[in-house]
C-alpha cells in the first residue's frame, strides 16, 4: 500500500527545490544547448554532410538533449538526497512512515517532471537554430521519461554513496560526461574507423542516444529495441540497488 500523500509531499518539495534553483536548473542548460548549436550546428554543421538523410544540425538534437538530461537528472537527484544527508534533514524522511516506494516515486516523479520541462525548453531552443520534425513524438516522450527515471535513480545511488562533495561530482564529471560525448552525441557510430565503431558499442550511452535519435528520425546506429532493453535493464538494476539500500539502511541509517 503506497502512501500517496507522502509521495505527493516529496514530489512537490523536490519540484520546489528545482524551481528555487531555476536559474541554474533551466537557464544554464538553455545557454549550454545554444552554445552547442552555435559551435556544432552553425559553425561546423554547415560543412558536415547529412547523416542518414538528416541535416547535421537536427542530427545532434537528440544527443544534446541526452547530454543535458543525463547531467541534470543525475546531479539533481544526487544533490536531492545527498544534501539532506549532509545537513541532517534526512532524519525526517527516515522517521516518517514512508518506504522505498514513496521515496522513489516522489524523487523519480519529480526528476521526470524536471526532465520533461528541460527537454521542452531545449527543443524550443533548438527550434530557433534548426528545423526538425519528431517522427515518433509519443515514443520520444516515453523514452525521455524512462531515461530520466533511470538516471534519477542512478543519481540517487550516487547521492547515497557519496560521503563528500568531491565524490558527488566525480562520477558525472569523470565518467558520465565523457561517455556521453563519446556516445554518438555529435556523430554517428558508423563514422568511426574500425575498430572504434565496435569498441564504441561497449559504451552504454551509445544505446541511449541512439534510441532517442530513432524516436526523432526513425533511424539510428543501434536497433531501437536493444536501446529500450538496455534502458529498462539499467532502470531495473538501479531500482534493485536502491531497494537493497533502503532495506539494509546502508549509508542512511547508522
Amino acid at each position: 500500500m503506497i502512501a500517496w500523500r507522502s509521495t505527493w509531499s516529496i514530489y512537490t518539495r523536490e519540484l520546489m527545490r528545482f524551481l528555487r534553483t531555476a536559474f541554474q536548473s533551466v537557464l544554464a542548460p538553455v545557454l549550454t544547448t545554444s552554445l552547442y548549436f552555435i559551435v556544432f550546428g552553425a559553425a561546423i554543421g554547415g560543412r558536415m554532410p547529412d547523416l542518414g538523410g538528416v541535416d547535421y544540425g537536427a542530427f545532434i538534437i537528440p544527443g544534446l538533449l541526452m547530454l543535458t538530461l543525463l547531467g541534470e537528472t543525475t546531479s539533481n537527484s544526487s544533490f536531492g538526497i545527498y544534501m539532506p544527508r549532509f545537513t541532517g534533514t534526512i532524519y525526517e524522511l527516515l522517521s516518517a512512515p514512508v518506504g522505498v516506494a514513496e521515496t522513489l516515486l516522489g524523487f523519480v516523479g519529480a526528476a521526470i517532471t524536471k526532465s520533461l520541462i528541460l527537454a521542452a525548453i531545449i527543443l524550443v531552443t533548438a527550434r530557433l537554430f534548426v528545423d526538425y520534425t519528431i517522427v515518433h513524438p509519443f515514443l520520444a516522450l516515453i523514452y525521455i521519461m524512462l531515461v530520466a527515471a533511470a538516471f534519477s535513480l542512478f543519481g540517487f545511488i550516487l547521492g547515497i554513496w557519496a560521503d563528500n562533495f568531491e565524490k558527488l561530482g566525480i562520477i558525472p564529471l569523470l565518467f558520465l560526461t565523457p561517455l556521453t560525448f563519446l556516445g554518438g552525441t555529435f556523430y554517428s557510430i558508423d563514422m568511426l574507423p574500425k575498430p572504434w565503431d565496435t569498441i564504441a558499442l561497449a559504451n552504454p550511452i551509445v544505446y541511449l542516444v541512439s534510441g532517442l535519435r530513432w524516436t526523432f528520425y526513425g533511424s539510428s546506429d543501434v536497433n531501437i529495441w536493444i536501446s529500450f532493453g538496455i534502458t529498462l535493464a539499467f532502470l531495473a538494476i538501479c531500482v534493485g540497488v536502491i531497494t537493497f539500500i533502503f532495506r539494509t539502511g546502508w549509508r542512511l541509517r547508522s
Binding site: 500523500r5 545537513t87 524522511l93 522517521s95 516518517a96 512512515p97 541509517r253
Partner: protein
C-alpha cells in the same frame, strides 16, 4: 511538588500497558562500539519521561532506534503495540521527533516546512491546524520567513512545529533546550507542559538535570548503553535523596554526648561544626534536623548557625553514575 492532575495521570497509566516497550535492545556499531547494551524500558501513556546520561551514554542512539534512524543489532521495540521491525509504518505514524541538531531546510519558509512535515506523514493539508501549532509556538508571525533568517531558539521551535504537524501521540525531544538561553529554556518547558496537557507522551533527553527535575514524571539514567535506574522522579529522590545540615557550634566539642550521637552526625572542623547526613527525599531529614536542634538545646550545646541542604536530582544522578563506574 507535583500537582494533582499530574499525579492522576501517573496513577491511571501505571497499570495500563506501556505505549513503548523495549526489550533487550542492543546496538553495536560497525567499529565495535556498543552503544546500547540490553536496554529494557517501558514508557507509559501521557507521561514525561526524562532520559539522563552523560555524553556518549546512548541516549540519542536509543531515540534513533525507536524513530527509525538507527538499525538495532538485536532486541525488540514495540510502539503502541506495533512491532517496529514489521509494523513500522503504523508505529511511526504516531511518533514525532525533534532532533538535537538544528536540521531543517534553511531555504524553506516556516509555513511550507511545517506543512511538508504533515504531508510527509500522510495527512491531508490542514491550514487551520498548522496555524494553531505555529501560534502555540509563537511562530505565526514568522510563517513566511525563511528558516535561515530565524534565531537559534526560533529554529528549534520550527523543529518542534514540524514534529507536531502530524499530531503525534508520542514525541521525542532530543536535548530540546541545548544551547538556548535561560528565558527561552523556560519558554520551552511551558511548551512541553502544554503538549503533555494535550495528552502527548513525551520522552526527552537532557543535560540539564534541572530540566528533568522541573518537568519529568519519571526519570531513567543511562550509562554506557545500560539503563542503570528508572523510577518516578519523586520515588527516585525519596530512595536516593539525602539531607545534609551543618551546625556551627558556639564552643568546640571534643566528644559527642550520647543523646546527640544517636543521630547520624559527626564533628567537623576541629569540633566547631556538627554535620548531619541522613533522611531521604521525603522530608524525613529535615524533621530529624529539627529533632537534633532540640536535642542540642536540651543538652545545653549552643550553636550560632544552621546550614541545611536537600540533595538535588543532579546529586542523585552524579551518585548513580559514580556507582555505575565502580
Amino acid at each position: 511538588m507535583p500537582d494533582q492532575s499530574r499525579t492522576r495521570i501517573r496513577t491511571l497509566d501505571a497499570s495500563a500497558s506501556p505505549i513503548v516497550d523495549i526489550s533487550a535492545l542492543t546496538k553495536v556499531y560497525p567499529g565495535g562500539l556498543t552503544a546500547l547494551d540490553g536496554v529494557d524500558l517501558r514508557i507509559r501513556k501521557g507521561e514525561i519521561f526524562a532520559l539522563l546520561g552523560p555524553n556518549g551514554a546512548g541516549k540519542t542512539t536509543l531515540i534513533g532506534a525507536i524513530c527509525g534512524l538507527v538499525t538495532p543489532t538485536s532486541g525488540s521495540i514495540r510502539v503502541f503495540g506495533h512491532d517496529l521491525a514489521t509494523d513500522w509504518r503504523k508505529a511511526r505514524q504516531r511518533i514525532g521527533l525533534v532532533p538535537q541538531e538544528l536540521s531543517t531546510d534553511m531555504f524553506d519558509p516556516v509555513m511550507r516546512a511545517v506543512s511538508y512535515s504533515r504531508g510527509l506523514f500522510g495527512l491531508a493539508p490542514d491550514p487551520a491546524r498548522i496555524e494553531e501549532i505555529l501560534r502555540s509556538l509563537s511562530l505565526w508571525d514568522k510563517r513566511e520567513e525563511r528558516i535561515m533568517a530565524l534565531s537559534g531558539g526560533m529554529k528549534r521551535r520550527v523543529l518542534i512545529a514540524k514534529a507536531l504537524a502530524h499530531e503525534p501521540d508520542l514525541l521525542f525531544l532530543d536535548e530540546p533546550t541545548a544551547g538556548v538561553d535561560v528565558e527561552l529554556r523556560k519558554g520551552m518547558w511551558s511548551i512541553i507542559d502544554e503538549m503533555r496537557s494535550r495528552g502527548v507522551t513525551i520522552i526527552l533527553t537532557t543535560h540539564y538535570i534541572e530540566e528533568a527535575e522541573e518537568m519529568a514524571d519519571r526519570v531513567g539514567v543511562i550509562r554506557k548503553g545500560r539503563i542503570i535506574a528508572v523510577d518516578e522522579k519523586e520515588a527516585l529522590m525519596a530512595r536516593l535523596g539525602r539531607t545534609e545540615a551543618h551546625i556551627a557550634l558556639a564552643a568546640p566539642l571534643q566528644v559527642l554526648p550520647p543523646e546527640i550521637a544517636r543521630f547520624s552526625v559527626e564533628l567537623e572542623d576541629g569540633g566547631t561544626s556538627l554535620c548531619y547526613r541522613g533522611g531521604d527525599g521525603t522530608g524525613k531529614g529535615k524533621a530529624e534536623v529539627a529533632e537534633l536542634t532540640k536535642a542540642l538545646y536540651a543538652a545545653g550545646i549552643d550553636y550560632t548557625g544552621i546550614e541545611i541542604r536537600e540533595s538535588s536530582l543532579e546529586d542523585i544522578f552524579v551518585s548513580l553514575l559514580g556507582e555505575g563506574e565502580q
